[in-house]
Amino acid sequence: MKYQREELLKALQNPKELKRLRNTTHHKADKNPGDNDVEKALADWLGRLKLLHGLPFNYLVPDTKMLPEESLRIFYCNTLWLDYLQEGALSLGRSTSSMKVHDQAFASDLDYLSRWGMRKQRSKVLGHLVHHLHPDELKALNADPIPVNEKVTGFLLRSGVVSGWEGLQIEAFHDKEQTQPATLLRMDHLGPNVLFCMYEGEVKSFRIHEYPETLHFGVDTPVGAGNDFTKSFRYVVDVDGHAAGTQVKDSIAPPVQINEYERQKGGRVVKVNALAKAMQKSLETSISYDGPFTAAEFALEMVEGVQAVNFQIEY
C-alpha cells in the first residue's frame, strides 16, 4: 500500500531491483502485446522502425552510384545498428539516469516487442489476404519471435522489371535448393523502379517471377536476326511416356512460324483458324496425333507459362 521512499530510490538506480519491484507490485508485461493497447502501439512503432520504415533513402544508399539502373544489391542488416536505431528513438524522452535504468531494466521486453512488431507488419500489410497464405507461411507469421537477436537480410532491386512486370513475385529461401522458404518481413516499392525486400534470417537464394496466375497465349520471340515469331508444340495426349502438356522437342516437331498466319504482314493479328489447322497438321505428322483439335487443344498449345529468374547468394 505504501511505497517507501528509500526502497523506491534504490530501485530507481538498479535495473534488477526495479524489475523485481515492478513485477511484484504491478502487472507483468503481457506475453502478447495485442492485449495491451499501449504495448501494441509501441510494438507496432518499433517494428516499423526496425524494418527501416521512414529511414531516409540516402542513409540506405549513400551514393546513387551504388545502386545503378538494372542492378540488384543484396544486403545483410547489422543487428547492432538496428538496436542503435531503436535506442536513438527511445532516448529522446530520457532525462534522468533513472529513466535510463528503467529502460535498461526493460530492454529485453522492448526487444521482444519490437520483434513481435516486425512480424506483425507483414500481416498488417496483407490485411485480409493473410487468410489466403500458405499454411506454412501463416504459421511462420504467427509464431512467437525467436527470443534472441536474429539476422535480417534482403535486397534492393532497381530495374525496369519492377514497374514492367505488374504483380512481380519474389520467393526467397534459406537454401540454394529452394526448399526452405524464408519469411518476408517487408516488401516495398521505394520508387517506381526500386524494390526493397527484407527477410527474417539468412536468405541463400531467391526467385523473381511474374504473377503466377496470369493466363495468356504467348509466342516465342525471335532469337537473333529476323522478325519471325515461333511457337513450339506440346503433347496433346500421352505419347510414348511424354505426358500431355509437356514440350515436344523442336527436332521432332519444328516450331510453327507464326508470321505466316498474319492477317496482314506485320499487323501482328493472327488468322486463328488457319493457325489451328496448321498446328493440327503438324502434330499429325510429327507425333501421329489423330484426335480432335478443338479450341481446347488449341489453347493447350498456345497458353504461355510464367517467367522466373533465380538468384543464388554466396555470402
Partner: protein, 1355 residues
C-alpha cells in the same frame, strides 16, 4: 397610512397544522438526582448587592437536583422554528423565528378499572410561555435575565405560566372584555420568544431550561385526584400551540430579503401607489444586483401594514412558510388562492403509564463503547476496526477513513501511488477548522468575455501589477490589525471580568494585590492602544484601500475586473471527538430529524381542513353488532370552548386525537357496544393506526384505485408512481421487488398513498381528512432517553507544562518542539516512547450535543462494493460489513470547550457588560461595554492551566451524557477506550490518548510566491508578477545544465568536463555572447539584465570552474527527479518530452502567524504583574517556540520540489535527496527551516528549484500541509518558447540541400545552426525527407552543428 379601515387578518380561516414531538417522563421517586438548568438568573445582583459581581460565573449552577413527582412533558419545536436565518446580502446577525407562546395541554385519563365501562376523563391546562413575573410562580419555571432601567429592581424574571384551562379562559375573556385590564396586563408578557430564549442554544432543548415554557409538569397531587392508586394510570397527552399575537405567526412572516425579479413582480401587483411607496421604504438594497432587504426591527403596526399590502398583492405567504421551514403539505393540495391565517403546532404522547409504585428503569453505562478520534469519522473508523479485530485485516481503519474521505476508489490504482499519502494528508487536515484569513485582491477576466478571447492575449499595463500588490499589502495590514483589534476587545473584556471580581470582592475572589483603580487604568491603556489601531485603520488604511481600488478599476482594461477573494485561511485545531455506541443509545431525532419520514426531507404538515373527523367501524368487526360511528359528538370534549377565532379548529384537533388514540378509542368502543376486551381492542386500533400512518406498499393495485390516486395527488407524484407501478391487466403491479426499493422511494410512495387516502391495510376507516405525520405520535413505552448534552472530565499530562501559578517564571523552551518531536509524514511524532507523565492537570466542561447525522455506513460500503467490483479491498470491506450487522446506534460528540479551557478561557454564556451597582467605575464599565461590543464569547478561567501549545497525554476520567430531562449516564474511568490511529503513538499506555502538538488559537503558515521582478512583492494574478526567475534544463546523462531566462530565452550552458574536474561555460550557440566567459557574460554581456537571483545561482554553480559543486548538484537533482510524477504532466505540449524536464527557479516566503494577538495567559498572577509592574502581557514564550518546516515531499509524487537555497545564499544547495552529499550539497536536516509565531515575524526566504507541473508541500506538523503551485498559464508560455538547442554531430545530408528527419512538432520549427570557425551560419530550414527512393541527393556530406527548436514567438 392609507384611508382604508384598519387591517385585521381574516381569522377562523385556515390553519396550518404542524406536527411536533412530545416526550413524557414519569417521576415517582424524588430522590433520583437530575442535572439542573445551567443558569439561575435569580442570583443576578442589583444595585443593592455590592458584593456580587455581575458576571456569568455568578449565575452558573452546579450540583444536582431532584425532580418533583409526577409526569413531566417536554416538546421539541419543529426544526424550522429552531433555526436562525440571516439575510445573505447583509451582515446582520442571526434572526430566530418566533415560537408559539400559548400551549393547550389536554390530558385524557382512561380509567379501565371497570372493564365494562371504561371512562375517558379530560383535563386541560394552558401555558403562557412569554409570561414573566417577579414573584416565583406556584409551579416551577425558569429564570431569565431581564433588562430594566431600574438597577435596584430584580434583574431577572420568572418565565412562563401554567393555568388550568378554566382559570385561563376566565381571565382571558375578562381581559378581552376590558381593554384597560388588557393594556395593564401587556407588561406581564415579553413580546417575542424564540427557541434560543435569552441567547442559549439549549434553551428550548432542555426541559430544565424551559419548564412551563416548552414543558409541562403534571403534578402528583392532580394525578392522585384521579384515584386509581396502585395501578397504572393510562394517560394520553396532547399539546397544541398557537401564537397569541398573529404578527409572530410563521404564516405572516415577511420575507427578510427578496431578489429583484420577484420584488418587481410584487410591485406590479400592488395597485395603490402609496402602498408601493411603503414597500419601497422598508425594502432597500445597496447595489443594483443585490436583493432587497427588509429593514430589521420594525414594530408590529408597521409589519401589519406590510402584511396587509403583501396579502392584497397575493403574496405566497404559505409557499414561503413551507419553503422556509422545510414543511410540506399532502400531495395534490392546491395552494393557489389559499390564505392561511394561523399556525397550530401539535404533538401527542401516550399511553403514559403513571404509577407511583412502578420501577422506571434507569440508563446503564455497561454496554456503552467509547471511541476517541480527531474527528467523528476517524473515531468511527477506529470503532469499526476494533469490532472487526484488526490482526488479520491491518488496514481496516485506513480503508474506512479513505472511504469517508472519498479517496477509497483511487487508493488501489497503480497510477495513484500517492493516494495513501493523500489520505494521511487529508486526515490531518480534517482535524482543523479553517477560519477567514482576510481578503486578497486580484484581477480577472470578466466571465462573459472569457469565451471570446484567450486569456493570454490581453496585456495588462505593467504598473498595475505593483499597484495590485501594494493594495494587497495594505489590505493584509488591515486584515491583520482587524484581527488584532478583535482579540484585543476580547482581552479587554476578560481583563474587565477580573476587574469586576476584584471590585466586588465576591466569594470567588482569591487574595490578590491589585487595586481596582490600577486595573481600570491598565484597561483604559489597553483601550487607548486599541483605539490607535482602529484610528489608523479607519483614517488611513480604509480610505487608502478605497482610493487604490478606484485607481485600479479606472486603469483596468474593460474586459477585466478587480475582485476580492479569500486570502490564506487561518487554522484552528478541532477538539477531539468521542463516539458512544450502545444498544441503549438512540441518537435523538427530535431535533434535526423532522424530515426523516419523507423522501424530500420535509416535515409533512396539513391544513385545518385536512383533519380526520370521523372513525367508522363496520358492524361485527370488533365484537360490535351495529356500525359504530365516532365523531366530535360522541368523543371526549374540551372543558370549554377555546375563546379564539379558530377555537373550533383546536377542538377538531382534540377530537382527531381521540379518534386516532388507541387508548381512548378502545374505551369508546366498549361504551358503544363492543364486546371485546379493552386490551384486545387497543391492540386492534394500534395496528389500524400504524397502517394508517405508514401504509404498506402493495405489490398490486387495482386500476380503479390507481385512477383515484391520479385524481388526488400532484402530477409529478403520480408520474413517479407510474414509474414504479406498471399496468398489467386489471391491476397495476410493482415493477421491482419490494425488498429492492430504496428507502427514499418507499417514503415517497407512502407519501403518495397517504395523500390519496389509500391505506389498504386500514380495516376501521378514519375519514374526513388525511393522516398526520408519524412525528405527531410518540408511543410511550418507557421513560425515553434523549441525550442532549455531554460533560467530560479528563486528566491531561502536558509534555511541556506551564502552570498558572508560574505565570512569569516559567516559559516554553524555544527548542521544546524540536527536542521532543520529529516531523513525521504530516504530523509530529514523539521521539522514542512517550513517557508516562505523573503530573496531570484536570480539565472539564459541559457542552450541548449537536446531533450528528451518522452516515449509513453499511449502505455506503455496499454501494462501494457494488460500484468497484475489482477493488483490492473487497475482502476487508466484506469483513467490515459482516461485523457491522446489527450495529448498535452511535452518538458522537466533540470535547467542546477543551481548547478554550487549555488557554484559560471559558466558553459559557456571558452576561451583558453592566454593573448595576453604582460606583466611580460606572462610567468606566460603560466605556468597556462600548469598546468590547460583541467580543464577549469567553471569560477568563484564572485557575485553569495554560497550554497554548496543546501536546501531551490525555486520560478520560469521567464522561457524562445528559438527557433532555436532566437524567444522566456517567461513565467513570472507562474500562476500555478505542483510540483512533491519529491519536496513538509508539509506547502509548492503554486508555491514553496522545495529543500531538497543536497551536490552540487560530494561526496559519504563509507560503507565498514572490514576484521574480521584485521580491518584495508577492505574486498576484497579474502576468507580470510571475514568480519564476529562470529555467534550468538539466541533461543528467551528459552532466550539463542549460540556462534560460524566465521568458524562455536561452542564455548558455554549464557542462562538467569529461575529466569531471572543470565546469565549461558556453554561451548560447549563435547568440551574441558566445565565446564570452561567464563573468563577462553576466556582468556586461547579454546576461546583464537577467534576474539577479538567477544570475547569482548560475555564478555559484559555476563555482569558479570547479566541477564538484555542479556535479553534486546535478547528481542530486537527477535522483530526486526520478520520484517526481506530477499529475498534470499530460497537460503540457509535446515539447516537454523533447526537453526532458525543465526546472523552474522561483522564490517564496515562509511565515507563521497567529490570527490577532497571541492568546495570553489569563491567570491572576499574570494580571498582577501587568497591572502592578507594567509588564507586557505574557504568552509564556510560546510564540518563541520554533517549529520546523519541511519543504517538498518525497512521498508525494505530485510534489515537484528538487531542492532549495535559503536567503539568497546559493553556495549551499539543500537537495531533497542525494546519495553523495558534499560540502555544498546536502539533504536539509529537520531544523533547517525553523519558524515561530513571534512578531515581528522571522520569515524565511527560499529559492525553490522544482518541476513546475508539480506542486510544493510545506509540512509543519501544526498546520495542515500547505501546498502551493504555479498556475500553468503563468509558466506555460515561457515553457513553450524555450529555445531548445541540441548538439548534433555528425549528420549525413545532401550537400546541396539540408534534409534529414526531425521529430514532428506542433507549431514548432526546427532549424540548423553551424559554426564555420569564425562565423555562425544562418539557421537554415531543414527539408523533410523519408524513405522514398529519390535519386537526386548525391553527393552527400557530413556536417556538425546544432538542431534548434523554436516554438511560438520569441519575446
Amino acid at each position: 397610512m392609507n384611508s382604508q379601515k384598519p387591517f385585521k387578518l381574516a381569522t377562523d380561516g385556515l390553519g396550518l397544522i404542524v406536527p411536533m414531538n412530545v416526550e413524557a417522563l414519569c417521576v415517582n421517586n424524588d430522590e433520583v438526582e437530575y442535572v439542573p438548568a445551567p443558569y439561575n438568573f435569580s442570583r443576578l445582583p442589583n444595585a443593592d448587592d455590592p458584593s456580587i459581581p455581575n458576571l456569568s460565573n455568578v449565575v452558573m449552577t452546579s450540583g444536582l437536583v431532584n425532580m418533583q413527582i409526577g409526569v413531566h412533558l417536554h416538546w421539541a419545536l419543529p426544526d424550522g422554528l429552531t433555526k436562525g436565518v440571516s439575510p445573505q446580502s447583509s451582515d446582520s446577525s442571526l434572526q430566530f423565528p418566533q415560537t408559539p407562546d400559548r400551549w393547550l395541554i389536554n390530558r385524557v385519563f382512561t380509567d379501565i378499572s371497570d372493564p365494562n365501562n371504561p371512562v375517558n376523563t379530560v383535563k386541560s391546562w394552558v401555558i403562557e410561555s412569554n409570561y414573566v413575573s417577579v414573584e416565583k410562580p406556584e409551579r416551577e419555571t425558569t429564570t431569565v435575565p431581564f433588562k430594566t432601567d431600574d438597577d435596584s429592581a430584580p434583574q431577572y424574571r420568572y418565565l412562563g405560566r401554567v393555568q388550568e384551562f378554566e382559570t385561563w379562559r376566565e381571565q382571558f375573556l375578562a381581559r378581552e372584555a376590558n381593554p384597560e385590564l388588557k393594556a395593564a396586563d401587556t407588561d406581564n408578557y415579553v413580546p417575542g420568544l424564540s427557541a434560543v430564549g435569552y441567547g442559549s442554544p439549549e434553551f428550548a432543548a432542555s426541559y430544565a431550561n424551559c419548564k412551563s415554557v416548552f414543558g409541562f409538569y403534571d403534578q402528583h397531587k392532580d394525578l392522585q385526584n384521579l384515584g386509581v392508586d396502585g395501578a397504572d394510570y393510562l394517560l394520553s397527552y396532547q399539546v397544541i400551540g398557537w401564537y397569541h399575537d398573529v404578527i409572530n405567526d410563521p404564516v405572516t412572516q415577511l420575507p427578510i430579503e427578496m431578489a429583484p425579479e420577484p420584488f418587481d413582480r410584487l410591485l406590479d401587483k400592488i395597485t395603490v401607489p402609496a402602498d408601493k411607496d411603503t414597500i419601497r421604504k422598508y425594502y432597500t438594497r445597496n447595489t443594483t444586483d443585490n436583493p432587497y432587504v427588509l429593514r430589521p426591527d420594525l414594530d408590529s403596526p408597521t409589519r401589519l401594514i406590510l402584511i396587509r399590502i403583501f396579502t392584497e398583492a397575493d403574496y405566497g405567504f404559505l409557499t414561503d412558510t413551507l419553503n422556509r421551514n422545510a414543511w410540506s403539505l399532502p400531495s395534490g393540495t392546491k395552494l393557489e388562492g389559499l390564505q392561511v391565517t394561523h399556525t397550530l403546532i401539535t404533538g401527542t404522547v401516550g399511553p403514559v403509564l403513571w404509577n407511583t409504585t412502578r420501577e422506571y428503569p434507569q440508563m446503564q453505562d455497561e454496554t456503552i463503547s467509547i471511541a476517541i478520534g480527531n474527528t467523528a469519522s476517524e473515531a468511527l473508523s477506529a470503532l469499526i476496526a476494533d469490532l472487526t479485530g484488526n490482526q488479520e485485516l491491518p488496514f481496516v481503519e485506513s480503508i474506512l477513513n479513505a472511504l469517508q474521505l472519498g479517496l477509497l476508489k483511487d487508493i488501489g490504482e497503480p497510477d495513484h501511488i500517492n493516494r495513501y499519502e493523500q489520505l494521511q494528508l487529508d486526515m490531518h487536515a480534517s482535524s482543523y477548522a479553517n477560519l477567514d484569513g482576510g481578503g486578497l485582491w486580484q484581477v480577472s477576466l470578466i466571465p462573459e468575455n472569457d469565451k471570446d478571447q484567450g486569456s493570454d492575449e490581453v496585456n495588462l499595463p505593467p504598473d498595475l501589477a505593483d499597484e495590485i500588490n501594494n493594495l494587497n499589502l495594505i489590505q493584509s495590514d488591515l486584515d491583520r490589525t482587524e484581527a488584532e483589534i478583535a482579540t484585543q476587545r476580547s482581552e479587554i473584556f476578560m481583563d474587565w471580568y477580573r476587574f469586576m471580581q476584584v471590585l466586588r470582592r465576591g466569594p470567588l475572589d482569591p487574595d490578590h494585590n491589585m487595586q481596582p483603580r490600577d486595573m481600570a487604568e491598565f484597561i483604559q491603556d489597553e483601550i487607548e492602544s486599541m483605539q490607535q489601531l482602529i484610528q489608523k485603520n479607519e483614517t488611513e488604511r480604509r480610505p487608502d484601500i478605497a482610493e487604490r481600488v478606484a485607481w485600479i478599476i479606472s486603469n483596468l482594461p474593460q474586459e477585466y475586473q478587480l475582485e476580492m477573494v479569500q486570502g490564506p485561511r487561518y487554522y484552528e485545531p478541532e477538539e477531539p471527538v468521542a463516539l458512544f455506541q450502545g444498544a441503549s443509545i438512540k441518537p435523538p431525532q427530535r431535533y434535526g430529524g423532522d424530515g426523516r419520514y419523507m423522501a424530500n426531507q420535509t416535515l409533512l404538515c396539513r391544513l385545518s381542513t385536512q383533519v380526520i373527523t370521523t372513525l367508522t367501524i363496520p358492524g361485527n368487526q370488533i365484537g360490535n353488532p351495529a356500525v359504530i360511528v365516532l365523531n366530535r359528538d360522541n368523543t371526549p370534549q374540551l372543558p370549554g370552548d377555546l375563546p379564539l377565532d379558530y377555537g373550533n379548529q383546536v377542538h377538531s384537533l382534540f377530537t382527531e386525537n381521540s379518534l386516532l388514540n388507541p387508548t381512548v378509542v378502545a374505551a369508546l368502543c366498549i361504551n358503544n357496544g363492543s364486546t371485546l376486551e379493552y386490551s384486545a381492542l387497543r391492540e386492534i386500533f394500534l395496528t389500524n393506526l400504524r397502517e394508517f400512518l405508514s401504509p404498506s406498499i402493495p405489490e398490486m393495485i387495482p386500476n380503479a384505485e390507481v385512477e383515484l390516486i391520479g385524481n388526488r395527488v400532484a402530477e409529478a407524484d403520480f408520474k413517479f408512481f407510474k414509474e414504479l407501478y406498471i399496468p398489467d391487466g386489471p391491476d397495476y403491479v410493482l415493477k421491482v421487488p419490494l425488498s429492492s426499493l430504496e428507502d427514499d422511494k418507499i417514503n415517497r410512495l407512502k407519501y403518495i398513498f397517504i395523500s390519496a387516502s389509500m391505506a389498504w391495510g386500514v380495516k376501521l376507516p378514519y375519514t374526513g381528512g388525511i393522516a398526520p405525520s408519524e412525528i405527531y405520535f410518540v408511543k410511550w413505552d418507557e421513560n425515553p432517553w434523549l441525550p442532549f448534552s455531554f460533560s467530560w472530565e479528563i486528566s491531561f499530562a502536558p509534555f511541556a507544562a506551564i502552570e498558572s501559578t508560574q505565570a512569569f517564571s516559567a516559559s516554553y523552551d524555544p527548542e521544546f518542539i524540536i527536542k521532543t518531536f520529529k516531523l513525521g509524514d504530516v504530523g509530529f511524532v514523539y521521539k522514542g516512547d512517550v513517557p508516562i507523565l505523573q503530573e496531570t492537570q484536570a480539565h472539564s466542561n459541559t457542552s450541548f450535543m449537536t446531533p450528528h447525522a451518522e452516515q449509513n455506513f453499511q449502505e455506503q460500503i455496499k454501494k462501494f462494493i457494488d460500484a468497484q467490483k475489482d477493488s483490492p479491498f473487497d475482502k476487508e470491506l466484506k469483513a467490515i460489513l459482516e461485523s457491522m450487522k446489527d450495529f448498535p446506534p452511535i452518538l458522537s460528540q466533540s470535547f467542546n470547550g477543551f481548547n478554550s479551557d487549555m488557554i484559560m478561557r471559558n466558553e459559557v454564556l456571558q452576561l451583558d457588560i453592566k454593573d448595576p451597582v453604582h460606583s466611580m467605575f460606572s462610567g468606566f464599565t460603560e466605556e468597556v461595554r462600548q469598546e468590547v461590543g460583541p467580543m464577549t464569547q469567553t471569560s477568563p478561567s484564572m485557575g485553569s492551566y495554560y497550554n497554548p501549545i496543546r501536546t501531551g497525554l490525555m486520560r478520560i476520567d469521567k464522561l457524562t451524557i445528559i438527557d433532555a430531562f436532566g437524567r444522566k449516564v456517567t461513565i467513570d474511568k472507562p474500562r476500555k477506550i478505542i483510540v483512533a490511529q491519529g491519536l496513538i503513538t509508539e509506547g502509548l499506555p492503554a486508555n491514553y490518548v496522545y495529543l500531538p502538538p497543536r497551536i490552540l488559537q487560530p494561526a496559519r503558515l504563509q507560503f507565498r510566491w514572490l514576484a521574480a521582478k521584485n521580491n518584495a512583492i508577492e505574486m498576484n494574478t497579474h502576468p507580470a508578477t510571475t514568480p519564476i526567475c529562470g529555467w534550468l534544463l538539466a541533461n543528467h546523462l551528459d552532466n550539463s545544465l542549460v540556462l534560460y531566462t524566465n521568458a524562455g530565452a536561452a542564455l548558455g550552458s554549464l557542462t562538467v568536463s569529461e575529466n569531471l574536474m572543470n565546469v565549461i561555460w558556453q554561451g548560447v550557440p549563435g547568440g551574441p555572447g558566445f565565446g564570452l566567459n561567464l563573468y563577462d557574460y553576466f556582468e556586461s554581456g547579454p546576461g546583464k539584465d537577467v534576474n539577479a537571483s538567477f544570475k547569482k545561482l548560475v555564478i555559484s554553480l559555476f563555482n569558479d570552474g570547479q566541477a564538484s559543486y555542479l556535479q553534486a548538484f546535478l547528481r542530486a537533482n537527477d535522483l530526486t527527479f526520478s520520484l517526481v510524477q506530477p499529475e498534470n504532466f499530460k497537460q503540457l505540449g509535446s515539447n516537454a518530452v523533447l526537453m526532458g524536464s525543465p526546472i523552474a527557479v522561483a522564490q517564496a516566503r515562509l511565515d507563521m502567524e497567529t490570527a490577532g494577538m497571541p492568546a495570553y495567559n489569563q491567570s491572576w498572577e499574570a494580571m498582577e504583574r501587568e497591572v502592578n509592574d507594567s509588564q507586557p502581557k505574557t504568552d509564556n514564550g510560546f510564540t518563541k517556540v520554533k517549529f520546523p518546516i519541511r519543504l517538498g515531499s518525497m512521498e508525494q509524487v505530485n510534489d515537484g520540489l528538487l531542492g532549495y537555497f535559503k536567503n539568497n545564499d546559493y553556495s549551499h544547495y539543500y537537495a531533497l535527496h542525494t546519495d553523495q552529499p558534499s560540502d555544498q550539497v546536502t539533504i536539509p536536516d529537520e531544523t533547517n527551516i525553523l519558524l515561530s509565531l513571534e512578531r515581528p515575524s522571522n520569515s524565511e526566504l527560499v529559492t525553490l528549484l522544482f518541476d513546475p507541473r508539480g506542486s510544493i508541500h510545506a509540512t509543519s506538523g501544526v498546520f495542515p500541509v500547505k501546498e502551493i503551485n504555479i498556475p500553468p498559464d503563468v509558466f506555460a508560455d515561457a515553457l513553450e518558447t524555450l529555445r531548445l538547442t541540441f548538439l548534433t554531430t555528425p549528420i549525413l545530408t545532401n550537400s546541396a540541400k539540408l534534409a534529414f528527419p526531425v521529430p514532428a512538432q506542433d507549431g514548432g520549427q526546427w532549424t540548423w545552426l553551424e559554426n564555420d570557425l569564425d562565423k555562425w551560419s544562418e539557421a537554415s530550414e531543414i527539408a523533410g525527407i523519408d524513405d522514398k527512393a529519390t535519386m537526386d541527393y548525391t553527393t552527400q556530406e557530413i556536417k556538425e552543428g546544432w538542431l534548434v527548436l523554436t516554438k511560438g514567438t520569441q519575446k
